[in-house]
Point group: D2
């Protein structure tokens, strides 16, 4: 069997890259841990992520899943590519707990030349059962000259 490829970027390098390309939102997130084909990301909950009652909004959960899938792809291919989301499927399964951050774990299931495919589980920090699952596909642009 082929050896598992190792990440080409670590936590700090991924944060730096994210601050460069997603300046507006990078500070909302933290790369908690990078492993082979897997990353853990945190969404630092602020007022703007909430719905009435204090629960995290759907768009904020989508944003976290999207960023986690992006970061796990980037970790494995390195900082040169500009991948874009092409498809996403989301199941909202439980109401997020009020007043705590969201934690997402993204697993890279396929890294092809054109597409990466991930599975993401989103948790309210400290809860055992996920609040959402997502499957994400990113298109990886062809390498130019």
């Amino acid at each position: 069997m082929a050896e598992t490829p190792q990440p080409k970027m670590n936590e700090a390098q991924l944060m730096d890259f994210m601050r460069e390309v997603f300046q507006q939102v990078a500070d909302d997130f933290n790369v908690e841990e990078v492993k082979a084909n897997e990353v853990t990301m945190r969404l630092k909950i602020a007022e703007r992520h909430l719905r009435p009652g204090g629960t995290v909004s759907g768009p904020s959960m989508f944003a976290l899943a999207d960023v986690a899938a992006y970061i796990v792809t980037l970790a494995m291919i390195g900082p040169k590519a500009l991948a874009v989301t092409t498809n996403c499927s989301l199941d909202f399964m439980r109401k997020p707990k009020a007043g705590v951050d969201l934690i997402a774990t993204a697993k890279l299931l396929k890294l092809g030349r054109q597409l990466s495919v991930s599975h993401v589980l989103v948790y309210s920090e400290g809860m055992a059962e996920p609040v959402a699952q997502a499957t994400m596909t990113y298109a990886i642009p062809p390498v130019s000259g």
Copy 2:
């Protein structure tokens, strides 16, 4: 064949309801038109919806599709229910045009007792081809007492 049911809420009533329950974000949206099983919604693009280069962010497109599916469900069942998104699938097909609003058209394909299912097409205003499509499922809570 059964007659097509008519909407129970018009544009102004839906905007009022949205301002009540989604105070934080209601002003981002406008209900443009309500027909039987169909609504058209506008996302009024502001700085916070953008990515570098001026294109609308993924979470903003998700938010618009989600709200459009919610509003088309609400239009047909009336203001009493508190529906929640359970599933969403999104295809991001084209880069939104910089500097223009997004327009979404949501069609209600099924309105059952427990679930509503919609198909949403999202356009950059003035463009003929959609930037995204979404399928959305909402769970409709059982009527109490």
Copy 3:
């Protein structure tokens, strides 16, 4: 605005092509009508497509949606490409009617160099409301030589 491109294959050419490449299942299907970016397909229901009670099985509905998205892609790019399904999302909304064929209408929403994206509605013949909706993504292999 750009002119709408016209199909490169008609109903008979698409049936011939399908018989060549999907010999085992081609006779289950019929290409009913081809228009610009749209095809209508029939699944001729036989015993093997049914579940107890006479309703059409989930895999048969998936197969029809998949073939319809394939055929609408092929109609627009011509017979040379060997596209493969990469992603599919399906909503099963109503029980198909017993004893009648299924009819699917596939609309091509995007035809890029690498991906095609479609939306498919599946009906029991003679019913006004769809039994299922599907979104399908096909990967189009790079042109060689």
Copy 4:
């Protein structure tokens, strides 16, 4: 934290139930292993599951994912309910290996009163990387009486 609930049906009971309700297709499948919130299923590949070149067809992969999600739901709620698929999202990631069975592992992520949500990974037997992933939602009918 709540204790993990244990399955209410074992491998043999699930096979018996499947033979009763899905007589036409039950012999294609085998329940390999049942654990808390997880089942492993086998699709015994026969000629009718194949495409030219010997690869397993898309509808056969869908059928396996669908049955695996059904069985993991049934294992946890017991034989009384008649759950139906409402939503499915599938990523086809690799070509299945010719001449070997498919193995699916389904994890139950949510078991609510109305809906069950699962994540399924599908493998060609003996391969380390999945050929497909699926997310499946089943509607669980209200208990009558």
